[in-house]
């Protein structure tokens, strides 16, 4: 036992200097058109040998003859790893004769298939090849439907893919909805906007806060703020989503918390007055990186990237405007009271600054100081 442990200790300890390797890949290609699906799944011969023991004579080489001897069984095994069509009842696939292909110097078995396929709802692609055999296997899926091509990487944790039917319009709608959703659950972004709005309904005159002249002025000021905020976060969202700029998530989260505190403090001790939109723009750049982090959890369609990003931004803007539509009338009315500029505004600003500070500290240290954070 010790001998094995020592051999293993050495062997295991030596695992580190191992250099680059040949990974296990699979390639699924499918085209859906005119009520039919055509495609193929390509898996490495080495991997199929590990799965099904193809080396009949055990001589360390898998030959075409050894594969041909098991062809019928292999065709159905391989096609059994793929599901295309309606999620509940995938399309039946007819196998084609096996062929052989080469990728990056390695030999693959090609299992072609075709069948009638006209799913009623969104097209679901299931790829469950070899993950339970080899956890490092990755499936490269390329699907073309309605003239649009989508590529995705399948992993042990992501074995299925849903394609929205209907192409560009449906992508746009999906991402508008996503944008609205993400701003409404983005309480830190909302708090930042609200903080700026608190200050937008008053103006500094004679050394104290006074309500801004007329609802029209308030609306204009808030419109400027929201537009500047949106413009800024659109820019950085695009930069981050397209991988042009990459910033660490914890840094951005902490920075967003800081912007909230600073915006709130600015309301009490105004460094920036009368041009809140500039503050909104500058800090909006930071918030854009925050949106990119949540957008990263939503798979962006490779073929529709620009549409998706634009739609997401539109959704965020719509969501923001909805919040403004609710909050602004309240603030405009409140600003006319004496209580607002003297008491409510500074008090609220201090509370918000405190919340922002707690979030800043919590996000920097990785702890939760407040119940939400």
């Amino acid at each position: 036992m010790l001998r094995l442990a020592l051999a293993l200790g050495l062997g295991l300890a030596a695992a580190a200097p191992a250099a680059a390797h040949t990974q296990s890949y699979g390639y699924l290609t499918a085209t859906l058109a005119d009520g039919r699906v055509d495609g193929r799944l390509e898996l490495a011969v080495r991997d199929l040998d590990a799965l099904a023991g193809l080396d009949g004579d055990g001589d360390g080489s898998v030959t075409w003859g050894e594969v041909r001897a098991r062809e019928t069984e292999l065709r159905s095994t391989i096609l059994g790893m793929v599901a295309i069509g309606d999620e509940a009842s995938p399309c039946a696939l007819d196998p084609a004769p096996l062929a052989v292909d080469t990728h990056a110097g390695e030999t693959y078995l090609v299992a072609g298939f075709s069948g009638a396929c006209a799913p009623a709802g969104p097209i679901a692609i299931g790829y469950d090849a070899l993950f339970d055999l080899d956890a490092t296997h990755r499936g490269i899926v390329t699907v073309t439907a309605d003239g649009e091509t989508r590529t995705a990487v399948m992993t042990p944790d992501a074995r299925s893919l849903a394609l929205e039917a209907g192409g560009a319009w449906s992508t746009a709608l999906t991402f508008v909805a996503s944008g609205i959703h993400h701003i409404w659950i983005g309480y830190d972004h909302i708090l930042f906007l609200v903080t700026l709005m608190l200050g937008a309904v008053v103006v500094r005159r004679d050394g104290r806060w006074q309500p801004v002249d007329g609802t029209g002025r308030a609306l204009l000021e808030v419109a400027r703020i929201v537009t500047a905020f949106t413009a800024a976060h659109s820019v950085t969202l695009a930069l981050a989503a397209l991988d042009v700029v990459r910033l660490p998530v914890p840094l951005i989260e902490a920075a967003i918390a800081a912007t909230i505190s600073l915006a709130a403090l600015n309301t009490i001790w105004p460094l920036v007055t009368g041009r809140l939109w500039m503050l909104a723009f500058g800090f909006g750049l930071i918030h854009g990186f925050g949106f990119a982090n949540v957008l990263a959890e939503v798979a962006l369609p490779a073929g529709d990237l620009v549409t998706a990003l634009l739609s997401f931004n539109v959704g965020v803007e719509i969501g923001q405007l909805a919040i403004v539509a609710v909050v602004l009338p309240v603030l405009v009315v409140a600003a006319r009271t004496t209580l607002y500029p003297k008491v409510a505004l500074p008090a609220l600003s201090l509370v918000i600054a405190g919340i922002g500070f707690c979030w800043l500290v919590g996000r920097t240290l990785g702890v939760e100081i407040l119940p939400i954070g």
């Binding site: 010790l2 001998r3 442990a5 020592l6 051999a7 293993l8 200790g9 050495l10 062997g11 295991l12 300890a13 030596a14 695992a15 580190a16 200097p17 191992a18 250099a19 680059a20 390797h21 040949t22 990974q23 296990s24 193929r40 390509e42 011969v45 080495r46 040998d49 590990a50 004579d57 055990g58 001589d59 360390g60 080489s61 898998v62 030959t63 075409w64 003859g65 594969v67 004769p97 062929a99 052989v100 292909d101 080469t102 990728h103 990056a104 110097g105 390695e106 030999t107 078995l109 090609v110 072609g112 339970d132 055999l133 080899d134 956890a135 490092t136 296997h137 990755r138 490269i140 990487v153």
Partner: protein, 389 residues
């Protein structure tokens, strides 16, 4: 053809994109499609362990035995698929935080092989905390510390392996750690003493000890001697041994011997790269095909989001396609994750080639702080310090 012209030709060849093959149905039953581990009655015992595991997938002992065999196969072939097989075999016991120790240490080794050093380190810290005398865990953690450039920390773990039956592995560990802090000479002497004291040890242990002996000799500026050490134990050499010997031969400007050495030893990326570098040095006509092949491999990895290849790809761009800027970017990304001498050397060379000596600063600082004194790095450090001053 002059070397620079060949390099340019290779770079242009790559612009044509990956080779698009069309599926064909072979005509000849005898055509060999793939090479796989030999069956029962031949080979390494991997097949037997595989069969036992397949017969009883829920049996922990069979799964652990298979995972160990797969990890060893993965190591000697430099092939990540085997680590994937091991991970899949252990999957039923991996979610639980109180998984058996055997499972946890194997998962740490698999994580390490996948370059997820943080996860491996975390798991080993827990294992060693529970049992500070666990020599497998100690040796593995020492290895990770060495990969991440912490020679002093590695030495601590090596020193904790005190079982006299583990003399050779412990000395090998200490020698590797010593080389990282400028004490390669002492490490080499201790290693040689241990090798002769232990005598006929397990062949895998002996071969690994020879590999480390060669590495120490190379770091002391004695590459011919290093190559002779590896040549003496050539029987049963695995991919890491062949790769080390090929790199020494390339450094010694003996590319023809590289091609002879690696012929018929399979297509692990690291061997392919060594063959390609030799082919470029010899103006061999196979260089273009091998360049395309490696380039396709790197592209496939990028497509699948796999990031294990940065060191090799950086070396590929630096020494084959002449893309110094690309090489430097990869070398920097690589160095952020791992800091072995090969990674440091790559960063220094790439910084010089790309005309950006300041990019080498982190590595130069690391060398100063740790006392690393490697003969392969010295001329690069001198040149960079000259450029930076």
């Amino acid at each position: 053809m002059p070397r620079s012209a060949l390099v340019s030709l290779l770079a242009v060849a790559l612009l044509a994109g990956p080779a698009a093959a069309a599926p064909v149905r072979p005509a000849d039953d005898a055509e060999i499609l793939a090479s796989v581990p030999a069956g029962l009655g031949g080979g390494t015992g991997f097949r037997a362990a595989e069969a036992a595991h397949r017969a009883a997938p829920d049996d922990l002992d069979a799964a652990v035995a298979f995972a160990r065999a797969a990890v060893e196969e993965g190591r000697t072939r430099s092939d990540p698929r085997f680590y994937g097989r091991a991970a899949a075999a252990l999957a039923p016991w991996s979610a639980a935080t109180d998984a058996p120790r055997d499972v946890r240490i194997l998962r740490a080794v698999i994580a390490q092989a996948g370059h997820d050093f943080a996860a491996a380190r975390a798991a080993l810290d827990v294992l060693i905390g529970e049992n500070p005398a666990d020599l497998q865990a100690r040796l593995s953690r020492a290895s990770i510390r060495m990969v991440t450039g912490d020679g002093a920390g590695a030495a601590e773990d090596c020193a904790a392996v005190r079982d006299p039956r583990a003399l050779l592995p412990a000395t090998v560990c200490r020698a590797r750690a010593a080389a990282l802090v400028g004490q390669a000479e002492a490490g080499l002497a201790a290693l040689r003493r241990a090798m002769s004291a232990v005598g006929t040890a397990d062949p895998a242990q002996r071969r690994f000890a020879a590999l480390v002996e060669a590495e120490l000799l190379a770091s002391l500026g004695r590459p011919e001697e290093a190559e002779r050490v590896l040549a003496a134990d050539a029987a049963g050499a695995g991919v890491p041994d062949l790769a080390a010997r090929a790199d020494l031969l390339l450094d010694l400007d003996r590319p023809d011997e590289v091609l002879a050495l690696l012929d018929g030893h399979g297509d692990a990326d690291v061997l392919l790269l060594a063959r390609l570098r030799a082919a470029v040095a010899l103006d061999d006509t196979r260089a273009a095909d091998w360049t395309r092949l490696l380039s396709d491999r790197f592209a496939a990895a990028a497509e699948a989001g796999v990031a294990l290849h940065r060191r090799e790809e950086a070396r590929f761009r630096l020494s084959v396609t002449g893309d110094a800027a690309g090489a430097l970017a990869l070398a920097r990304d690589n160095w952020a994750v791992q800091k072995e001498v090969a990674d440091t050397r790559l960063l220094l060379e790439a910084a010089l080639a790309a005309g950006d000596p300041s990019a080498a600063e982190p590595a130069l600082r690391h060398i100063r702080n740790t006392g690393l004194d490697d003969a392969r790095l010295r001329p690069l450090v001198t040149r960079l310090q000259g450029e930076n001053s």
